[in-house]
């Protein structure tokens, strides 16, 4: 006879499940969390490249971790966690947001009289001057593949070869997307930097 308690708990078994290598499921998930929580920053920022709303991005992060844990339990474990988590997040993000119309970049350096920075230290100028919200907004206005390339390489520190594997694209294509993304950000934000400098 099936008691009320077991019906409520479904197939949950209080005994720890033993995996092929003798490790219990609890030990296994703790090992998984220990190995992957350091990639949270990368996964969240990658999720934000797809999701306009923070809540949506959080959902994608959770989905990524669950999918990764499934693979981990099936003994599909990566040599490097970050590119692996990035690949899972990218695949989920692309399938979830495939149908959504992406906003094209609204400003391109070809469309305007844009000159390269003339200050001695363009990096320092950018760092000092920019408002964080303007920065996030500029990032969101880039085409998706450029945002992803920038997130993987400039934010997460992956090599362009690792980013290419995660994105399923040739390295040359990733280099091109990366550079166009950087240039797009420069085009979108340079006016703002100059405004702050002129004050």
């Amino acid at each position: 006879m099936v008691g009320r308690d077991s019906r409520v708990r479904g197939n949950r078994d209080p005994r720890p499940r033993v995996l092929d290598d003798g490790m219990t499921l609890r030990e296994d998930h703790e090992e998984f969390l220990h190995a992957t929580m350091g990639a949270m920053d990368l996964v969240y920022n990658l999720a934000r490249r797809f999701a306009d709303r923070v809540e949506e991005a959080e959902g994608l992060v959770q989905e990524t971790y669950l999918a990764a844990y499934r693979a981990w339990r099936d003994q599909r474990r990566p040599r490097r966690v970050e590119p692996w988590m990035a690949t899972i997040c990218l695949n989920l993000g692309r399938s979830r947001y495939r149908t959504r119309e992406r906003r094209p970049i609204e400003v391109s350096i070809e469309d305007r009289d844009f000159r390269a920075p003339e200050v001695e230290d363009p990096e320092g100028a950018a760092e000092a001057a920019l408002d964080r919200e303007a920065l996030y907004d500029a990032m969101r206005r880039l085409p998706e593949e450029q945002r992803v390339a920038i997130t993987l390489v400039d934010l997460a520190g992956l090599s362009t070869a690792e980013a290419a594997r995660a994105m399923g694209s040739p390295r040359g294509t990733v280099l091109s997307r990366l550079h166009r993304g950087r240039r797009g950000l420069a085009a979108l934000l340079w006016d703002e930097v100059r405004e702050v400098e002129d004050r």
């Binding site: 920075p117 363009p122 920038i150 280099l175």
Partner: protein, 90 residues
């Protein structure tokens, strides 16, 4: 990119991307840095690339408060359930 390939056909966009990312091998980097003194196109791309990279690094968004705990809880729950995680979110 191999140095002989760069010398034969230089691509300002690709070379600048590799240079700004610190991925040019030492010999190629030395050649490219000398080349930058004479090539206005490459110099411009490098400046834009450096600017954009710095901006991009600052565009890192902090992980929302509590998300790490929620992810831990989801994974722990799916481990406790003992079968395949559902993949449900929220």
């Amino acid at each position: 990119m191999k140095i002989w390939s760069m010398k034969r056909h230089h691509d300002p966009e690709q070379n600048a991307a590799e240079y700004v990312s610190g991925e040019l091998p030492a010999r190629a980097r030395r050649w490219f840095e000398r080349h930058l003194l004479d090539c206005e196109d490459c110099w411009r791309e490098v400046l834009l690339g450096r600017f954009g990279r710095r901006v991009a690094e600052d565009a890192r968004e902090p992980v929302p408060l509590g998300l790490r705990d929620r992810v831990r809880a989801k994974v722990s729950l799916s481990a406790t359930d003992g079968d395949s995680p559902t993949g449900s979110v929220g």
